[in-house]
Symmetry: C2
Subunit: 466 residues, 2 copies
């Protein structure tokens, strides 16, 4: 056995009990909302056939997929030519058949195709699992991280888009966030703009440039557009669109004028208006706070992929990039031979949301709830006395521990402190004789003398009060 | 993009929404019990440094670890001699630095050593995560499966063992199992027996043989013991121990006579008696059903590893091997240079428990609970009418969906059936005029005409009734 100091694999993390409670709080809060909107959970395996993943993420993506070495005498089947040429890349397919999933989208597409006879469309699923990427680790970027995706396939209805706006709104409000903007755009509006200025083939260049408006300003965008093949004249016509301001209604009216001659552009506007109408219809009698929903035509997230609405959520309370994204795609499963299945989905950036909640101190106290009460252990007699009480506490649904040895009281108190256990029961010789126990509040330091039954009742009341 | 029919990697599984709900039911039930006994969750990464895992599971185990191929030009650092000799096994360490975890025990040991300054002992943790083994897949054996481990390190107290008996009891009872046996043994008793017959060095051979009593009977055990170096005389002295019968008290009394001359054997007996006493102390005033706890000295599970008590749980309701195991080990972290840390832990076989609950039809109806009510969609007018109702249902905590298009009613009903949605709200032109909706129970087929408010109230009552 090796005896070296162990370490974590680069770019990976352990999650401590304290971190797990907070992470579970985020996932549980989000899941509860997903379920209320009719989404059901699936899981796919960590390992996929390498052929399932290869070619789905571009050449750069392919390099970042973690490949699993075949078991046994893998070199016996290795391609001899690639081996002798020391061609690492070409050799892979002959020594590795499996790989770790790189995202949840491709495994979901595989799932839908493989189970197409078992699922009924529209298929509404969510999936919260780790993914792995051989990226260079840096602050906030890990080689193992969780994705939290929710998608519906097989429904063209824009009701789905509207419901995703409410899912964002409800989930983030439930997490305690109060100031965030849900940005929406539509690929068809961008296509319309490119069409109107007579450069439909430059739509990607156009959106890449105007996506940077926040960072480099209009002057910077102008420079980049010129470099990317647009003329001064094009830019003059683009300017009012790029610098679009006002309410959503004002923006939409302005866009209708600009895009009057573009069928696809007008379709994009109509889609956005339908989504807005659905959102208002849903919220007519609802308790849910009105979302800060903003049409932002500079939003171009994942443009190669999305075909309709595009979403992004930014918090305005913390310095943080986008915390959620998503959009509509026309062909999820075409890569596996099942054509024409449209879908729309969004994802929550759990690690970023974690950092925001931490920074804003939004994790509730209950998200630190572990053991509620520790019974201290003085000697064999007090231990024997404590046993039935310990189990009665648990029978009442109260997380309870008896310190497992008669260690020094100071050590037992440190243990309670380290685990953030809010109450300690002391059973000394006085207590054994009187049957009245000492009940200590670890936050306030306050001690009271009460019966075991009173302690059970008190803690039960506190727990049911949340 | 490849266009081949996708498949799962061999030995791996997808989990459908129906399976996920059942799996989560099992994990949630077990977790709730773990927490009540003061255990907190941790997670470790799927990928560990290969050096962390190698040498911990024996030569056979090392072969079954899935290795991850280094990224980039991995052949540039490959050992040239091993490469030209086509020595697959020797080459691994120069082309693979990382591997998938093989169990939760070694990562837990690494965790404890790495975080020793942050955790307070005794450290009580549980961990429910997948592990990967390059085993040949067969019925019930997968290459990716979940382990569900709960351990405490840094406490010698046998209270921990007693609490594990209650954790078994409470978790399995809460899952609806009514007839299962918690078997307990102690490595020290086995050592004592081997010592008494003068063959301490043959303890492993002895236990391997008597472990088979169930399957091959006493005659078979005798034959095997003779083959393994025991004499007829040894077997005569072993016989009363192997065929030990009666109550736990009767067995312990008989063992005390037999092991009177073995210090370690008597220590093992004393440990079992202490565990029994703790269990009775805990259950003195408890609502928990008395466990069927049986001393079984033929139980030898993981003997190379365990040093004190050994546990195994068998269901008596279904043809299934053991569904849980566990025991005390004296040196968890020695492999990483931190000596003398004792621990005890148990694990739940989630896949087997799933099969038992399925066979006995023990999954509760609520474990199938997804969407509670579907609002059917007749036309644009009924859809508009439905929107605020849909959101009101969700505001009331009711999982609800509006069918996203005005498809044929038959299709909408099939959708509700396929998702096991128990109620459907029908909003036709009559309903739009009267404001009285048709509320259909999909189990009974019964329809009633009631207001939207009455539907919300009815479903809310049903949900809060559980």
């Amino acid at each position: 056995m090796s005896n070296i100091k162990p370490s974590l694999a680069k770019g990976t993390r352990d999650f401590s009990p304290q971190e797990m409670v907070k992470r579970n709080y985020i996932f549980d809060t989000i899941k509860k909302v997903f379920k209320k909107y009719g989404y059901a959970e699936i899981q796919t395996p960590a390992m996929e056939n390498l052929s399932t993943l290869t070619g789905k993420y571009g050449d750069e993506g392919d390099k970042l997929i973690f490949k699993i070495l075949n078991s046994g005498d893998y070199l016996s089947k290795a391609n001899a030519a690639h081996l002798s040429a020391l061609n690492s890349n070409a050799l892979i397919s002959s020594i590795s058949e499996k790989a770790l999933r790189y995202d949840l989208t491709v495994p979901f597409a595989r799932y839908v195709v493989m189970h197409q006879n078992d699922i009924s469309l529209p298929f509404k699923r969510f999936q919260i699992q780790p993914v792995w990427r051989a990226d260079r680790p840096q602050k906030g970027r890990y080689r193992e991280f969780f994705q939290c995706d929710v998608d519906v396939v097989g429904s063209e209805s824009l009701l789905n888009e509207a419901e995703f706006v409410l899912i964002y709104q409800e989930a983030l409000c439930n997490l305690g966030m109060t100031d965030f903007t849900i940005k929406i755009n539509n690929r068809k509006i961008l296509s319309g703009i490119a069409e109107i200025i007579g450069k439909p083939e430059l739509i990607i260049d156009m959106t890449v440039a105007i996506d940077k408006l926040d960072k480099i300003g209009f002057e910077g965008v102008t420079k980049e557009l010129l470099e990317r093949g647009f003329t001064e004249d094009d830019i003059t016509r683009l300017k009012p669109v790029i610098l679009l301001e006002g309410t959503n209604a004002e923006k939409l009216n302005r866009l209708k004028e600009v895009l009057a001659g573009s069928e696809i552009g007008l379709k994009g506007i109509a889609e956005i208006e339908t989504v807005f109408a659905y959102v208002q219809g849903l919220l007519k009698n609802s308790d849910l706070k009105q979302p800060d929903l903003e049409l932002d035509i500079t939003l171009a997230r994942g443009l190669n992929y999305y075909t309709g609405c595009i979403f992004e959520v930014k918090t305005n309370e913390a310095a943080m990039g986008s915390i959620c994204g998503g959009g509509r795609y026309d062909d999820l499963t075409g890569m596996f031979g099942l054509k024409g299945l449209t879908g729309v989905g969004i994802s929550f950036g759990a690690d970023r949301i974690y950092d925001v909640l931490q920074e804003l101190n939004l994790f509730p106290e209950s998200a630190a709830a572990g053991t509620k009460v520790l019974i201290s252990n003085f000697d064999a007699e007090s231990e024997l006395y404590a046993l039935p009480l310990l189990q009665q506490l648990r029978d009442a649904g109260i997380a309870a521990e008896l310190y497992p040895s008669a260690a020094k009281l100071k050590k037992q108190m440190s243990y309670a402190d380290a685990k953030s256990i809010p109450y300690v029961i002391l059973i000394g010789s006085d207590e054994l004789q009187s049957g009245i126990l000492t009940f200590k509040n670890m936050h306030t330091g306050e001690q009271q003398k009460i019966t075991a039954a009173a302690i059970v009742e008190l803690l039960q009341t506190e727990i049911s009060a949340g």
